[in-house]
Symmetry: C2
Subunit: 376 residues, 2 copies
């Protein structure tokens, strides 16, 4: 087993509440001497400096660093020594300017607050790193305008390629990407005739599979806690999956009670409470993701309801939380890591011009745990 570790960095934008006036008091400033960082004006070594020190031209130094094969062993050694001695580091900006290439890939995800995208992104990152690329991530809290802004920001920063989540977004954005010629790949969802190549899974089919299972356990009163559907094809797909399963079982899906809310434990709890007011009371609450589901289970306990005896709960994503919750959460297991890994390879191929981008659908599985019971 490999010892994996993540290393990543993000650039970010937050439409934050203006905390300008927040005066924080009550803290003591300990008796620590003020560590003064003399911003040493010492000039940084440049390619020129290295070239001088090694008695070669800048071109040769550049080659040593970028295509060592094209340089004689002797020269290379001389140069590398000079590099060491001077502590030279190439200037990223200059490099980007001259080569018009950054070896940077940008990923724009909805959120970093919960672990939904963490695992997949880590795998993505590992895949990129293995090929010498660096990842830049931005998130947008499910706000389309911000997503657009972030996409522009990453492109401006010189991203060679972009990873996006889901298909639904303004046409402008797609046109912008085309115009700039920035290769982009969509993950976490597939659909027919996508605007961009996609690697992911079928959210509707996945949830439909889970709903089938739920129905097969005898449940007939389903309640749903869905993520916000507007502009989110994963959320709407999942909801559609439940409806489809009901129809397939000859049930009236139009009567399905749905609580739509932003992802978040608290929101899941609140939505669950509302659903429990219904008569007949749902025997199972299917949630749009694990975070909502955990909130629902918390609320159930709060209300003195036993899961799964009094009410069953299901999630989606199979993040760590699903395993830790009590009881364990029955959920849809998404191939996070494989999705990330394959997305990395695919996107790099696109950036390299090796491929125009193949779409790929990955299979999902249902992970059964204690939160879903049979109707007696």
């Amino acid at each position: 087993m490999g010892f994996t570790h993540i290393v990543s960095a993000y650039i970010g934008i937050a439409q934050s509440p203006n905390h300008a006036g927040a005066v924080c008091t009550g803290h003591r400033t300990k008796g620590m001497e003020r560590a003064v960082t003399s911003p040493s004006p010492e000039k940084l070594p440049t390619l020129d400096d290295v070239a001088d020190a090694a008695k070669v031209s800048t071109a040769t130094v550049s080659r040593c660093l970028n295509e060592p094969a094209k340089v004689s062993e002797k020269t290379r050694e001389k140069v590398m020594q000079a590099v060491e001695a001077l502590g030279y580091t190439p200037h990223f900006g200059a490099r980007a300017l001259a080569a018009n290439r950054t070896f940077t890939i940008g990923a724009i995800i909805p959120t970093m607050e919960n672990a939904i995208f963490a695992r997949g992104l880590q795998a993505f990152q590992e895949g990129l790193h293995a090929q010498g690329y660096t990842l830049l991530v931005a998130s947008h809290a499910y706000q389309p305008e911000i997503e657009a802004e972030q996409i522009r920001a990453l492109v401006a920063r010189g991203a060679d390629g972009l990873l996006l989540i889901g298909h639904r977004r303004e046409d402008d954005v797609y046109r912008f990407l085309e115009r700039r010629g920035v290769p982009a790949l969509i993950a976490w969802a597939v659909q027919d005739a996508p605007r961009l190549p996609a690697i992911g899974f079928d959210n509707k089919a996945a949830m439909q599979g889970l709903a089938d299972h739920v129905l097969s356990l005898g449940h007939r009163n389903i309640g749903v806690i869905s993520g916000l559907v507007a502009g989110n094809d994963r959320a709407s797909g999942r909801l559609a999956g439940i409806r489809a399963a009901m129809e397939a079982h000859g049930l009236d899906q139009t009567a399905l009670p749905v609580e739509e809310t932003a992802y978040g434990v608290e929101n899941g709890a609140a939505a669950f409470a509302r659903l429990m007011q219904l008569r007949p009371r749902p025997s199972v609450v299917m949630c749009g993701n694990d975070v909502l589901a955990v909130g629902a289970m918390q609320q159930a306990r709060e209300m003195g309801l036993l899961v799964p005896d009094d009410v069953s709960v299901t999630g989606f994503d199979n993040i760590e939380l699903a395993r830790i919750a009590t009881p364990g959460l029955t959920t849809v297991d998404v191939p996070h890591r494989e999705m990330g890994r394959r997305a990395a390879d695919a996107l790099i191929a696109m950036v390299a011009g090796t491929s125009a981008g193949e779409s790929l659908e990955l299979p999902v599985e249902i992970t059964k745990r204690g939160s879903l019971g049979r109707v007696v």
Copy 2:
């Protein structure tokens, strides 16, 4: 209440297991037409193009974008129209090269796998964004060499300033930072006479406070699950805090059983199992962070031990998990958001040259939940 959202992006490096040979099969490629992204060779507009279009010089365009006040309203309008019309975006690399400034701040944190740093980092990010800075984050999985590598990478990328976690690191690294004149700030820990200014809390005192509380409930057989102490001043500080509390209560801290392990739910579980073999069996297991503690509680359930009746458990950090766990986890509540917010302000001041960096210690509190009981 402001509607906060995060947006961030990360650059990353992972020393990943080589998955090169991994051949993944069994996936179907759906009937989706290959979305061919014509990498439109359309050239991007430059400052020159805008200048031409607006019939002004490049200098004026640059000023419009950077110091609009220094340009007449009329010209500005003309220029902005041209910018819009052409869809111009400044080239980040060129800008960094010319101005030697990126308005980018780097943060190097130990991990993104769990939520320990997420909240603080988000606040940090918001603070930066409010002042026009962008965040770049890297993580290193608690490996000092990688931290050093990441620091260099972020500096190479032109970070104007750096946020680091904890104080302990090789002298080289500090010298490197000084040499490059990159302002840096340490968060999550304070210590006397720090090498760099720091904003954080006293890990030892915090844990000592919790241990005091534990002892006051009658516990005398404490077991500890600590994070890896080597090179981690937070982990070692916390452990020292427990020892200090014991001494203060006249107990023999040298007899304290300590399981040292990397952070992780599984690891916490395993360590807990080992502690439960001891005789006398600990009546309380104090953990270095919430993740370990949740693992410990899972294992307790696995072993049929009731928390807190059979054994108590405590954590540190007060992340969301601590609230979701059953029973709720008694833990040390860290001022994540305030730390992040203040760090942002402080670091920006340092970057701007307004301040040499003031160290600041923030207070922590104990959050009491069900996992810690009284000894009967």
